[in-house]
């Protein structure tokens, strides 16, 4: 997983590789200074040489400058490769998401994808940078300090080694169990925040049912539970620092005792100098600090593992719709044929959503589709532009299996106005040109006229240049639907599919739109899903869907005569146009 993420370093690979080297250089400089200092004491002070002291000065300054350069180099390369990794990861994910089919998108929720692209990438960038800063430096510091100690006095260095081994066993043993607790806590913590979120958005329900006290006690219980879990996890961490201190202090005391013996020596033979003792005391700190840093790296990598996993999930998701090797680039006409089609969103599903659909629709026909909640109306039309692949059977558009078309060619010819439709921030004209990037303003105007959107657009102060806010929040529901229809019309499709796209448009306008379709684009096959009988009754033929199957297919009169479901729906909506919608 880590390897997969690091693969996206791309052109910053060498920067990322060089950065720890710089860090190592900086660490080395830091390590040399105690040596100089020890020698200063031994040769300069005890040796009484002022020249030596002066010489040490220039050497020490040089080292400091070298250290600074290394440090700056490390900061530069670290920042560049960290930001670069984040950029590449974001781009890789975003590009990959563009290849997703509808079922891939369904698999990840929208908010899930957004989090992965934003928070998770930032998490990884942060830990990666920390890693570059410490991963080599900390062990490097430790090793250099260790080597130096062995060089100065193997006996004392041995004490460090033993302390180091004991401590690392303790720390990593502790970390292992603690991480498990923390993971558990964070999961619960997320759940708690989710429940807050729920309360914020459903506050009206809470208040309407006077459930404030109920929610509060539920929350308090969860919060108390989290408190206990946090305490349990943190208890393990809390002893780390004191234990570290204890180790440092023990080492210092041991060195003092042994060091004193060595300096004073037996029979006048000194095996250690005072300066070396001072250097050793400094290294003691360095070694144990290095260990602490390594344990922190360990924690960080574990923490960002969740983010890594979520990102790799997106990158590994294979689009289940692929273009054929030799795609057809021409759609002959707008005829549609369902040849014993069955479809399930999930391949392991017990019961398919669509069962053995067998239909033939002629080019230029207008088809109404009606049926209850969950009768799979949307699923039916989504197969036509190959937003999903059929599970069984074949679906032919213009006489050719949709799987043989180039997907882009097919979708340009089959325009779908989705049930959950969105507009994007930008001018109205820009939104309309989604259908056809090079559409002239005249083409756009015509499409708006057909969708009865021209009337309100022209009333806006800036007309077609009016800016639409994100999600189309500054136009009403009915206006938004009409703009979406116009956007689909700009593409000049051979097949136009409206999936409950006029539910917020008042009945009169709805009728005018259908009228315009009939007169202006008679050769376009039109499929209209609607709740209202009035929206479909004037269609050439009407499909009645029931529980994933076609219950009836015929003209309004035929269905009234021999389809019970249709008759029932019709009767429940008696009255010419039985809706109170927003007019305008």
């Amino acid at each position: 997983m880590v390897k997969k993420i690091l693969h996206y370093l791309g052109e910053y690979k060498w920067m990322a590789a060089i950065s720890p080297l710089f860090m190592l250089g900086e660490a080395a400089c830091e390590m040399i200074i105690p040596v100089f200092m020890g020698q200063l004491v031994d040769k300069g002070i005890y040796g009484g040489s002022m020249t030596y002291i002066a010489g040490t000065r220039s050497r020490m300054i040089l080292v400091a400058i070298f250290g600074l350069l290394c440090g700056m180099g490390a900061a530069y390369t670290r920042a560049k490769s960290g930001a670069g990794l984040a950029r590449n990861l974001r781009k890789a994910m975003y590009d990959h998401i563009q290849t997703f089919s509808f079922s891939n998108i369904d698999h990840f929720s929208t908010s899930g994808l957004v989090t992965r692209l934003t928070t998770d990438v930032t998490n990884i960038q942060n830990s990666f940078q920390m890693l570059l800063a410490m991963a080599v430096r900390a062990p490097g510091l430790m090793i250099i300090a260790m080597v130096m100690s062995f060089y100065l006095s193997p006996r004392i260095a041995l004490i460090y080694l033993i302390a180091l081994i004991c401590l690392s066993l303790l720390i990593f043993g502790l970390m292992g169990s603690t991480m498990r607790y923390f993971k558990e806590v964070f999961e619960k913590y997320d759940a708690l925040n989710e429940s807050v979120q729920e309360n914020v958005s459903a506050i009206r329900v809470v208040k309407a049912y006077v459930r404030e006290d109920f929610e509060i006690s539920k929350f308090q219980k969860a919060a108390a539970n989290i408190y206990l879990m946090f305490i349990r996890a943190e208890k393990r961490v809390v002893i780390l620092m004191p234990v570290m201190q204890l180790a440092v202090y023990t080492c210092i005391l041991l060195i003092s005792w042994i060091g004193a013996h060595m300096i004073i020596g037996e029979n006048g033979v000194s095996t250690l100098t005072t300066g070396a003792l001072m250097s050793l005391l400094t290294y003691c700190m360095n070694i144990l600090m290095g260990l602490m840093m390594i344990s922190m790296i360990f924690v960080m990598v574990t923490m960002s593992q969740a983010s890594m996993k979520r990102i790799v999930e997106v990158l590994d998701e294979e689009s289940d719709l692929v273009n054929p090797a030799q795609p057809r680039r021409e759609v002959a006409d707008g005829s549609i044929r369902f040849d014993h089609v069955s479809f399930a969103y999930n391949k392991d599903a017990e019961e398919p959503v669509l069962k053995d659909i067998d239909l033939e629709i002629r080019s230029g026909e207008s088809i109404g589709i009606i049926g209850g909640t969950g009768s799979a109306k949307s699923s039916l039309v989504n197969l036509i532009s190959r937003l999903y692949d059929v599970t069984q059977g074949r679906l032919l558009v213009g006489g050719v299996d949709v799987r043989d078309y180039d997907m882009e060619v097919l979708r340009r010819q089959v325009s779908v106005v989705l049930q959950k439709n969105v507009l994007f921030s930008g001018t109205i004209l820009e939104n309309l040109r989604w259908g056809k990037p090079d559409a002239t303003e005249e083409e756009c105007r015509r499409a708006c006229r057909l969708a009865c959107a021209d009337e309100f657009i022209e009333k806006m102060p800036e007309g077609y240049e009016t800016r639409i806010e994100q999600g189309g929040s500054n136009v009403s529901g009915g206006q938004r639907q009409r703009l979406c229809i116009a956007r689909a019309l700009v593409a000049h499709p051979k097949i136009l599919i409206l999936d409950d796209s006029t539910s917020a448009v008042d009945t009169a306008t709805d009728a005018r739109i259908r009228q315009a379709f009939r007169e202006e684009i008679p050769n376009t096959t039109r499929l209209i899903i609607a709740q209202r009988i009035s929206s479909v009754q004037s269609c050439d033929r009407i499909i009645v869907m029931d529980n994933g199957q076609v219950s009836g297919f015929g003209t309004h009169e035929e269905l009234l005569e021999n389809n019970e479901i249709y008759r029932e729906v019709y009767e429940s909506q008696t009255g010419a146009n039985a809706d109170f919608d927003q007019a305008g």
């Binding site: 900086e26 200063l40 002070i45 020490m60 934003t118 979120q197 003092s256 999600g471």
Partner: protein
């Protein structure tokens, strides 16, 4: 968080005082203990550093001169220091343990208080605050506050005490070296300030670009299906690339500049160390074995004669102090930023806590009622009948009045803000048991009217009476309990289907739950769910269709068995056939109870006792279906889709 731009806070001092007040009021003793522990552990560590001097000057150097060194006194000295260390370590342990309980405890209390307060805030608060912002208080702000309490505060205390004690020790060891160290620290602080400023600018740019790309991602991913339908992938990627590149540039610069801070400080620290070592070395030399060098070192010699001498042991201790002095100062400057951030978070937390909760001056309460000797009185058990219990202060009597569901509006004006009225002079009368339908365009004020009945909002002018009692006199909880509501936006909670239905009546039995589901026509689809009534719902019932969610919401209202009911587009996503089934069940439930219905489907409103047509916050027509049709005005137009003949 180094180099992050500091958010502006109006009164940081007052805020900090309030926060500390909160901390010390609940955890005064613990904080005192923490303070003592910090002092003890810092002193122990200073003591240890000073021991290096004692070791060299007091034992090693003199013992080197002894022909038969006696290690006894040294062992004693080490033993003494060991005891100091042990005390220090125990103090440090005690400190972090206490701090853990304090910070987690404080967070638990704060979280609880926040939530409790939030639940009591008026709906208006949720209208005027973005939900994302409210959420961020619970997540980000609480988290930064935790860091501040558990890390920044102890570290600051620690740093402060360390700085003071190290400073005193340094002065005791050598005044000239102390002056040198302080000078270097000043240089260090100036350098960090400069680097922070440079990176701060870039951090602002980074935040801006991050915001821009997040917005773009959110918009495009939300519309990803539309992108696919229009084959707009390439354009979508192009837009993304531009933003991604800008973010990369600013992120890189911000990180690079703030990354410089570390090496600059540590090398300046090294320089400081070197200077002290050299200077100290020169000083020590005069105390050492005499002078052998000359010439170039005249400057040092002059200084030495000026400031006096230094022992090797003192130098060793001093050099450790030198490191120990610049470290906490660096830490303080780092902690400073995170404290400012935490204060900004605390500011938002306190702002929420300072919001005025929903006022409830009502005193009329809803009780179960029974008739004893022709007299209406209170009943302990659920009788299916309700009464308003009205306590009259003036003559200390209590009267009971049967709940009828008679709701009247007298000249009601209302606006969400005082300067913009959305309802004007609403006059209407819902008689007990009537079904009242509200129709009209989006934004005409239909939902607003229902939100006034249950006092989600308070009116500016006029009166609303419930069974002839001014709704302001009724305790809000009881008023709302008497009105079942099925709202336009269905919201479900995480939990099982059963728990969601039971939300309407917490002590409902399983049989009651199933009966309510059947009444709402939801039983069928629930049984088809993987685990039936025990199916877990997540994310507002994301695994259900809109229609199914509405059916559950209706079941939830049905189980509450309320005396009056408000249905706000409750069946808009349910197909007409299913709606008919639901309607039959509802009609049965609502028999004899006042019902308000908002709908745009004719079948839903046709058989109402009274249909109220609204436009732009005013009632323009009122009457039965037939009466209104006969008027041939707005209702007629809405109904037939034709232009009205008259007017």
């Amino acid at each position: 968080m180094r180099g992050m731009p500091r958010p502006k806070i109006e009164n940081p001092g007052k805020l900090l005082a309030r926060l500390m007040g909160l901390l010390f009021r609940s955890y005064g003793l613990q904080m005192l203990l923490v303070g003592v522990c910090i002092v003890v552990s810092v002193l122990a560590s200073v003591q240890g550093t000073l021991f290096t001097r004692t070791l060299i000057d007091g034992y090693i150097t003199p013992m080197m001169e002894q022909p038969t060194p006696d290690y006894g006194p040294l062992l004693g000295a080490i033993g003494r220091v060991a005891i100091f260390y042990l005390i220090g370590v125990s103090a440090a342990f005690l400190q972090s343990l206490t701090m853990m309980y304090v910070s987690q405890g404080m967070l638990k209390t704060l979280r609880g208080e926040l939530f409790e307060h939030m639940e009591r805030l008026p709906i208006r608060y949720f209208d005027t605050h973005a939900h994302g912002d409210i959420m961020s208080i619970y997540t980000n702000d609480i988290d930064t506050l935790r860091q501040m309490i558990s890390q920044s505060i102890p570290q600051l205390l620690n740093s402060a005490i360390t700085i003071v004690s190290v400073f005193i020790s340094m002065i005791a060891l050598s005044i000239p070296l102390t002056v040198t160290t302080i000078l270097m620290v000043v240089v260090m602080l100036l350098a960090s300030a400069a680097a922070t400023k440079a990176s701060g600018k870039n951090f602002v740019a980074q935040q801006k670009n991050l915001g821009a790309i997040n917005g773009y991602i959110e918009e495009m991913i939300t519309g990803q299906k539309v992108v696919k339908v229009f084959c707009h992938e390439k354009e979508s990627v192009e837009g993304f690339d531009a933003l991604n590149e800008a973010l990369f540039e600013s992120a890189f610069k911000a990180q690079a500049f703030s990354g410089l801070l570390g090496p600059i400080n540590s090398q300046l620290g090294n320089v400081s160390y070197v200077i002290c070592a050299l200077f100290g070395g020169a000083l020590a030399l005069t105390t050492g074995s005499g002078m052998t060098a000359g010439g170039a070192t005249a400057f040092f010699l002059a200084l030495v004669t000026l400031f006096g001498s230094l022992t090797v042991g003192s130098l060793a201790s001093f050099l450790t102090f030198n490191k120990n002095f610049s470290m906490p100062i660096n830490q303080v400057s780092m902690q400073f930023n995170s404290i400012i951030m935490a204060l900004a978070g605390a500011d938002r937390i306190f702002k929420l806590l300072d919001e005025e909760p929903e006022e409830d001056e009502g005193y009329v309460v809803l009780v179960n009622a029974k008739t004893v000797d022709g007299q209406l009185t209170e009943s302990e058990t659920r009788t299916g009948r309700w009464a308003w219990k009205h306590y009259h202060k003036a003559d200390d009597t209590t009267t009971y009045q049967a709940l009828e569901g008679d709701i009247t509006f007298h000249g009601v004006d209302f606006g969400y803000t005082d300067d913009k009225m959305v309802l004007h002079d609403i006059v209407m009368h819902a008689q007990p048991g009537q079904k009242i339908a509200l129709v009209g365009s989006t934004g005409a004020g239909k939902t607003t009217i229902t939100n006034l009945i249950n006092r989600f909002y308070d009116i500016q002018d006029g009166k609303i009476r419930y069974d002839n009692i001014n709704v302001n006199k009724i305790r809000k909880g009881d008023l709302r309990r008497s009105l079942g509501m099925v709202l336009q936006d269905t919201h479900l909670f995480t939990g099982t289907v059963k728990e969601n239905i039971r939300y309407g009546k917490l002590d409902a039995t399983d049989d009651e739950v199933i009966a309510a589901a059947k009444l709402a026509g939801a039983d069928g689809f629930i049984r088809r769910l993987p685990h039936g009534y025990d199916t877990e719902l997540h994310g507002d019932g994301a695994n259900l269709s809109q229609g199914q969610r509405q059916l559950l919401a209706i079941a939830r209202a049905a189980i509450a068995d309320p005396p009056a009911l408000i249905l706000d587009e409750a069946t808009s996503s349910i197909d007409t056939r299913t709606e008919k089934i639901v309607q039959d069940g509802m009609d049965q439930l609502m028999k004899g109870r006042t019902t308000f219905v908002i709908a745009h489907r004719l079948s839903t409103v046709r058989n109402s006792d009274c249909i109220i047509v609204m436009e732009q916050g005013r009632i323009i027509e009122q009457g039965t279906h037939d009466e209104l049709l006969a008027m041939k005005k707005r209702y007629y137009q809405l109904y037939t889709g034709c232009q009205p003949e008259a007017v």
